[in-house]
Amino acid sequence: MTHPTQSAARAAAQGLGLALRAPGLLLSVLAVTVIGAAPFVMAVEGPVMDSLAVQPPVSSLAPSEVDPEWWQEFQRHASGLAATFAPMILGFAAPLESVSALLDGTRRPLAMMAPVAVSALLWAFLWGGVLHRFFSGAGSPRAFMAAGARHFRGMLAITAMAAAVSVGLYLTVHAWLFGVVYDSIASRVPSERDAFLARVILYLVFGALLVTSNAVFSFARIQVVSGQRHVLFAVAAAWALVRRELSSVLALYVIFLVIFGAAMTAYGAAELLGGARIGGWRAVAIGQAFVLFRLFLRLAFSAAQVNFATSVAPLPPAPDHASTPPA
């Protein structure tokens, strides 16, 4: 019998290899991500440019430097999406803020619903093509588009269910863990370090729930691509798979989280340590490269999950619906 870590590691290695051999897919996904963000960028661009146009020049600042006073004033009066135009958008603060918001359940402005919803729709289409690519090996754009269109409804339903479960977890478990429980611990521990450790443990507890939920819905997507037409049966089959192979599934998540954590640490260290002052367009380019890396990890993780699901075959049979065998 294969050790859970071994099967997870093998699947992870295969997933990374498959993603590396699909640069076209990576660039296409990046293009879709950028195009999905573009309309919202235009909505923010107007107020920022108008405000800067009437801003008096500050003699002590280089022409390429940001006037912090202008920024503070802009933030004070900005609304909608422009209200998110804060220093957290600069450099490493951008990915750190998004991860921190995930951990702390930070509420975003209502205006952020629009870009997130548009992206969820785009990804509901992309998942079909991406998983089909890794499941069948068919790499043509036509096959990708056809699979995306064929599975769109199923993927959208799974996305809606996953979103509902995540929101439910944040509103109940997260609120309890980081409200009553954390406050009670933090007021009792003698040092800030102990409070932080307590918080990290709570992150791990909540993270385990999120990972389980994510795993179920991710494998449900694979079930749909593998031929399961009924979304609820796909979710049930995925749940059965996750329960049966829990340690391997968790090991797979840990492997990719370690890779992501290592990349985050390296990025943060490059900005924090040493005398380098990464700014200007170089910082933007590095930030965009990190987005590309995150997309690569997402594709690799999906490929690894597909490999893992097929390696523990047979996939749980659909209760009463005929399944199409993998191409």
Binding site: M49, L52, Q55, A93, V99, A101, S187, V189, N214, I278
Partner: protein, 402 residues
């Protein structure tokens, strides 16, 4: 009960010090002692306290105490901010990179408060608090100039991430009172140890902005002399805005009743905006009509002369034309609407009310400008690109959950 928490924290630290767990550092006069269980905190806080005290004494005159004790509050003690004569409290967080100066900001804010500790009345309390906010903010900018970066905290507030490309205090002597405000000075706004509430929209906040507006009008040297004179003459008694204005007026030889009436005592919103801009004509003879509106009930008169006299030229309006030339007109801040007519060789490209940002009491400066066609600012382009990267990160994180 912040006082009790503070006392307990202080007592605990003193006991620790007696047992040899704390580190003490002495600096030059006025003497500073730092009590902290964190060795990393002591040199930083001692150096900042010494520099801040030197600066503040030079600005405001001597303190009535011989030494200052800086207490680095332990975890779970009430938030820093409270000051009693000779003692200030700050908090040096566990994860504090060299470029995160939040502990220093908190320390400077409390040191500034030391200079204004005095019995106050209900009528003078907001202005007293305003003096603290104003001098503390200015001292932070001055002392930390050139090494002061934005450092937001993440992951439950435990992890600090300084943003090196955003310098908060670049040159406080440049265009007068800096606009930047700090949480360490303003929060918690309704703390019991304040002379008066410093919450958003409070009289103290408005008066502090009024003081910065005055500084931008008369310059820092005159403002500094006025502050020192006010403090010396008050000699520990309550300071009212009328008393302050009288001292400034005496020094400058012009009455300043408008400062107290319009900027400090009034609760009316002051807001000037560019209303309409139209250019007509051709062949190098363009007539540009500009309408400046006073949207709020509040006024910035800038003078004690009655409005019936000729209009006061109190607020500048800058007009930049398409050919790059520029001109300035002035409006009387008391007028509900001011119409400006300019003849030029090319149409107006940019109009800005108060372009030098003197009237800081203007509640909304985002409507102070008009642009025919916003040029693509290189800094703006870069910031927009950064925002786009941030948005992609948020999207990736959110879609990972669904």
């Amino acid at each position: 009960m912040p006082h009790r928490h503070f006392a307990r924290a202080l007592a605990r630290l003193l006991v620790t010090a007696l047992l040899g767990g704390a580190v003490a550092a002495q600096t030059a006069a006025p003497a500073v002692t730092v009590e902290s269980t964190s060795p990393a905190a002591v040199p930083r806080l001692a150096e900042t306290a010494a520099r801040a005290l030197t600066e503040l004494v030079e600005w405001l005159g001597p303190l009535p105490v011989q030494s200052i004790t800086v207490v680095d509050l332990p975890w779970a003690a009430s938030t820093p901010g409270k000051a009693s004569p000779g003692t200030v409290a700050t908090r040096f967080r566990w994860i504090t990179p060299v470029r995160d100066l939040s502990a220093e900001r908190s320390l400077i804010a409390e040191l500034a408060r030391q200079f204004w500790i005095a019995p106050v009345t209900d009528a003078t309390a907001p202005f007293h608090e305003a003096l603290v906010i104003y001098t503390a903010t200015r001292a932070i900018h001055r002392v930390l100039e050139g090494r002061h970066f934005a450092a937001p905290r993440y992951v439950g507030g435990f992890v600090s991430m300084p943003v090196r490309s955003l310098m908060l205090s670049h040159n406080p002597a440049g265009r007068g009172a800096p606009l930047g405000e700090f949480d360490e000075v303003l929060h918690p706004g309704d703390a019991a140890w304040r002379f008066a509430s410093a919450a958003d929209g409070s009289p103290a906040r408005r008066a502090s902005v009024a003081l910065r507006t005055l500084e931008r009008m008369i310059g820092w040297p005159a403002m500094q002399q006025a502050l020192a004179a006010v403090r010396e003459r008050a000699a520990g008694s309550p300071i009212s805005p009328e008393f302050f204005a009288a001292v400034v007026a005496e020094q400058r030889g012009v009455p300043l009743q408008w400062f107290v009436r319009d900027l400090v005592r009034s609760r009316d919103r002051i807001d000037y905006a560019v209303g309409t801009v139209t250019s007509s004509g051709s062949n190098g003879a363009i007539r540009t009509a500009i309408g400046i509106e006073r949207l709020g009930a509040g006024v910035f008169s800038g003078t004690d002369r009655p409005r019936d006299d000729e209009p006061a030229r109190t607020i500048p309006v800058m007009v930049r034309f398409a050919d790059g030339s520029e001109t300035r007109a002035f409006i009387d801040g008391r007028d509900q609407r001011s119409d400006i007519l300019i003849e030029s060789g090319s149409p107006a490209a940019t109009v800005a009310v108060d372009p030098d940002e003197m009237v800081l009491v203007d509640a909304n400066r985002m409507n102070n400008g008009w642009v025919a066609d916003a040029p693509s600012d290189p800094v703006g382009r870069r910031l927009i690109a950064s925002w786009m990267v941030w948005l992609q990160h948020v999207i990736l994180t959110c879609t990972a959950l669904a």
